[in-house]
């Protein structure tokens, strides 16, 4: 936070405060200024919507949203897929991790309009009917969560971590899972779950 509260003359608007400081707050707003879909005028005042087609968990959804809507907010607020969590909205916690064409991404750091061509997988898309994904099973078996707020992100990240071949040892898992914070700190159980699921995959 850089603007000084000059006594008697503090005429800063909230806008300048946020623009000059909080990258996250600016993330969604500023991004719209660079989106070609919306004109400068509509981007500035908000409101102008665009049609976006998202392919999520094997289903295609057509929604009308402002171009500045993040993939995370599109999933949660527009598609009702609230399994994906918002912990920080600025790429720091990993709670919003989803897969885009099989790669883990932080859905708060990408706009829905930018992901129209991708196949998105969220935690809701891992189960096959009543059967849990092996990583979900392993999380339950190893008690790899407490409150559960980081869990969908941890699980999506774990699926990708195993896929990437980054689950070879405890140290490797700890390193490659460190983009997902768990404030309850179930880390050692998460590591055990990832190792177990990876092992199962190799069998």
């Amino acid at each position: 936070m850089t603007d000084e509260p000059a006594p008697e003359s503090s005429a800063h608007t909230r806008r300048t405060v946020l623009k000059s400081t909080a990258a996250a707050a600016a993330g969604t707003v500023v991004a719209s200024h660079h989106t070609s879909v919306a004109s400068a005028e509509t981007a500035h005042t908000g409101g102008a919507r665009t049609r976006v087609t998202l392919s999520v968990n094997g289903e295609r959804h057509r929604i009308a949203i402002e171009p500045r809507v993040t993939l995370l907010d599109a999933l949660r607020d527009r598609l009702g897929l609230t399994g994906t969590k918002k912990g920080c909205d600025r790429g720091e916690c990993g709670a919003c991790t989803v897969l885009a064409d099989g790669e883990r991404i932080k859905s708060c750091l990408t706009l829905a309009v930018m992901r129209q061509g991708a196949e998105i997988t969220t935690v809701e898309g891992l189960t096959r009917g009543d059967d849990l994904h092996p990583v979900q099973e392993a999380f339950i078996r190893h008690d790899a969560f407490q409150c559960g707020a980081c869990t969908p992100g941890q699980i999506m990240s774990a699926v990708a971590c195993i896929d990437e071949g980054h689950a070879g040892s405890e140290a490797e898992i700890r390193e490659w899972m460190s983009g997902n914070l768990c404030r309850c700190a179930a880390y050692q159980n998460i590591v055990a779950a990832v190792a177990d699921a990876a092992e199962e995959g190799r069998r």
Binding site: H12, G47, C93, D143, A185
Partner: protein, 723 residues
């Protein structure tokens, strides 16, 4: 009894949590709902002189921008509302990041952009932000929650004077923030004069009380819903101003409104662990018997409240010392209110357990031995005997598993190549509360049971442990019992804080389940259509949902059969009381320090605990790994920084406020004595959640001293202090 209690059964809410089906506060879909966004003050002290909302209001989708000019008067609620004032009631600014306007729009993006367009002009006054700048203003705050801030036992001054050995040092710890992964969210839905809140709250019954006072509404008109909580660690225990403001705004605009705090807003809106300075003076005999402790701490307070949340409980009660003087002073600063944060007693305990290590070194006594020599076998302050205490076993078990006997006590003596290895230990202890709790248990006509209580699942395993205990007492399989929590429509129960849940709720659950079992058995034996007809009730046992005659297992009925014939549910309640107390343990840590890079790693942690009876070994172990990791964060990284000129938090995010990640933490080994405390009505279990971790910061500092010969007394022990 089917042996379910104690077993590490998998969490009953596991499936909901791994599939994304669990609904947290911001996940509930509410038709017609608007999105709110708070505008926070950018100065820390002063007056709002001008508020221009026109640009914000002109944005498409914006429904309203409310300020102190628009809101109706709200009464300032008492505890657990901590701020001492309700924002947006007048023009006064008490801290940076205080709500000054509340924007409501159709989409979250519109609300957020509009919030950026609200222009606020202030007459700013120079704030005081740092404890160091106002220490000469320290005072002894008045009673808080009926507790004094000064405790005297014996004559500590004289005993210190006469002591053969003395240790006197200053210890300090900075402001810290809880940072649960789920941000606070509140959704207000009004129906006439009735209000429903979807809330991230650690104590829905308490939130209801606060809201009822603020709005002058009967509690019966208020319903709080919070089936899952994405962590809280104290941040969601008190009710904070966004909940009150959002409800007031929803009433004004006549539609449901949701407000969710941003991560940055969570650094001024919902409390923090206060910064502390502590002067500790220990007096002891040459044999290491403590004769005096003088503990003078100074905490951040605000100009609007004087809550001291980090009490010096362990100084007062942990060791058998006849002369103790505790003073908990405070200094008023222009900062947001502090609050409880996981294991509040850690703050004082860090000083005490470090000072003891200094004393042990001074005397040439082993640190474990020093603690054993000062072990208290009755409460040193009240003189009351303990109903159960196995702390000495904890030292023994953990020391052996750690290999403590192989420790060379000379600092710097243990090396692994270039790396210096240090071993340190500390006692772990925390208070737990017992809060009057009630539950309702229904055995339905299908023979299945449902338990309802207005407590919460915060991640500690409340759903699981309640279900286990109920199923065990009923004699049903786990799958036949459903536990419903997080709704004030259920009977009032404990808050998920102060390590209170198990201690408070398990007694009522087991009582209700026993009564329900007896009631159903009574139905069966009195029913001529039951195979158990005429069997004396005390000869009937319940297992796996069936009811058997003890001597003749061929005579068999079931909950399902008995209830189907009865034709209506059996409903019972439980409300057995418990009392507060302490849990104990010991922690041993190994650190590895590379002097070339000044890098420090915690490489090994071994713990042992006495929490009374362990109800679920998995969830109890979860509290251990969580608490120990918090201890590592406290010792090595967590630190909220406040700019001294503006009194603003300068690192309100998770990339500059560091919390431990997976790669920062070792795996923790834990042991439990696991003997029931006959003084606890919760099947012999005590409250435990906040005990693990309390000793970790001191144990790490003690290990650093052992590795390097350098004594650190100011957390966090960052690299600059290790160079």
């Amino acid at each position: 009894m089917t042996g379910l209690v104690g077993r590490g059964v998998a969490r009953v809410d596991g499936r909901a949590k791994v599939t994304g089906a669990a609904r947290y506060a911001a996940d509930h879909e509410i038709p017609g709902m608007l999105h709110g966004h708070l505008v926070l003050s950018t100065v820390a002290r002063g007056e709002i002189t001008e508020l221009d909302t026109s640009a914000a209001l002109a944005l498409p989708g914006v429904v309203a921008v409310l300020t102190h000019r628009d809101l109706p008067p709200l009464r300032v609620p008492s505890f657990p509302y901590l701020k001492g004032f309700v924002p947006m009631q007048d023009t006064r600014v008490h801290h940076s990041g205080q709500p000054v306007a509340h924007v409501v729009a159709e989409t979250p993006e519109q609300a957020r952009e509009a919030a950026n367009l609200v222009r606020v002009r202030y007459r700013a006054e120079r704030p005081t932000a740092h404890l160091a700048h106002a220490l000469d203003e320290a005072f002894l705050p008045p009673l808080f929650r009926d507790e004094p801030n000064e405790f005297v036992r014996g004559d500590a001054g004289a005993a210190l004077e006469a002591a053969a050995v003395r240790v006197e040092q200053d210890y300090s710890s900075p402001m810290m923030h809880h940072n649960p992964i789920e941000p606070h969210s509140s959704t207000a839905v009004w129906d006439g004069n009735s209000l429903t809140l979807y809330e991230s709250a650690q104590g829905i019954v308490f939130t209801r009380r606060v809201v009822s006072i603020a709005f002058d509404l009967p509690e019966a008109n208020i319903r709080i819903i919070s089936p899952y909580l994405g962590g809280g660690f104290g941040a969601k225990g008190p009710t904070w101003s966004h909940t009150l403001l959002n409800a007031a705004v929803a009433r004004e605009v006549g539609r449901p409104v949701r407000v969710t705090l941003t991560r940055a807003q969570m650094y001024t809106m919902n409390g923090h662990r206060a910064e502390y300075r502590r002067n500790l003076r220990l007096g002891a005999t040459r044999e290491g018997r403590l004769t005096a402790i003088v503990d003078t701490s100074t905490a951040q307070l605000t100009r609007t409240d004087h809550g001291v949340y980090n009490t010096s409980e362990s100084t007062l009660r942990l060791y058998d010392c006849p002369n103790v003087h505790v003073r908990q002073l405070g200094v008023r600063l222009d900062l947001p209110s502090s609050s409880y944060m996981r294991s509040p007693e850690t703050t004082a305990h860090f000083g005490l357990e470090t000072a003891l290590d200094e004393l042990a070194h001074e005397l040439g006594v082993d640190p474990v031995e020093l603690r054993i020599r000062n072990h208290a076998s009755a409460d040193p302050h009240s003189g009351e005997p303990y109903s159960s205490k196995h702390l000495l076993d904890c030292y023994r078990i953990a020391a052996r598993a750690f290999g403590w006997a192989r420790r060379d006590p000379r600092p710097g003596s243990m090396r692994d190549g270039n790396v210096r290895v240090g071993w340190g230990m500390a006692t772990e202890t925390h208070t737990f509360s017992a809060i009057q709790s009630n539950v309702e248990l229904t055995v339905d006509v299908d023979g299945r049971a449902t338990l309802r209580a207005a407590t919460q699942e915060i991640g500690t395993g409340t759903y699981t442990v309640i279900t286990q205990v109920a199923a065990d007492e009923l004699g049903m399989p786990l799958e036949h019992v459903t536990t419903l929590l997080g709704d004030t429509a259920y009977p009032d129960a404990a808050l998920s804080a102060a390590s209170a849940t198990v201690a408070s709720v398990i007694g009522p659950v087991s009582q209700a389940a026993q009564d329900a079992r007896k009631a159903v058995i009574a139905l069966a034996v009195a029913d001529p259509r039951s195979p158990l007809h005429g069997v004396p009730a005390e000869d009937v046992v319940a297992e796996r949902g069936y009811l058997f005659a003890r001597g003749d297992r061929g005579r068999r009925d079931s909950y399902r059969g008995a209830l189907a014939r009865h034709g209506r549910p059996v409903i019972v309640t439980g409300s057995r009381l418990n009392s507060s107390g302490h849990s104990y343990g010991a922690v041993f840590v190994e650190v590895r320090f590379d002097p070339r890079l000044a890098t420090l790693r915690v490489s090994r942690v071994v713990t042992a605990y006495d929490p009374g009876r362990v109800l679920n070994h998995r969830t109890a172990h979860g509290q251990v790994i969580g608490g120990v990791t918090w201890g590592i964060g406290f010792a090595l990284m967590e630190h909220t920084m406040v700019d001294p000129h503006t009194a603003r938090v300068v690192n309100p995010n998770l990339s500059t406020y560091l919390v431990p990640v997976s790669a920062d933490t070792p795996s923790v080994e834990s042991f439990f004595v696991d003997r029931p405390d006959k003084g606890s009505t919760a099947l012999g279990a005590r409250g435990f959640g906040e005990t693990p971790g309390t000793g970790v910061p001191a144990a790490i500092g003690n290990a650093i001293f052992h590795a390097t010969g350098r004594r650190l007394r100011d957390v966090p022990f960052t690299r600059d202090k290790l160079l």
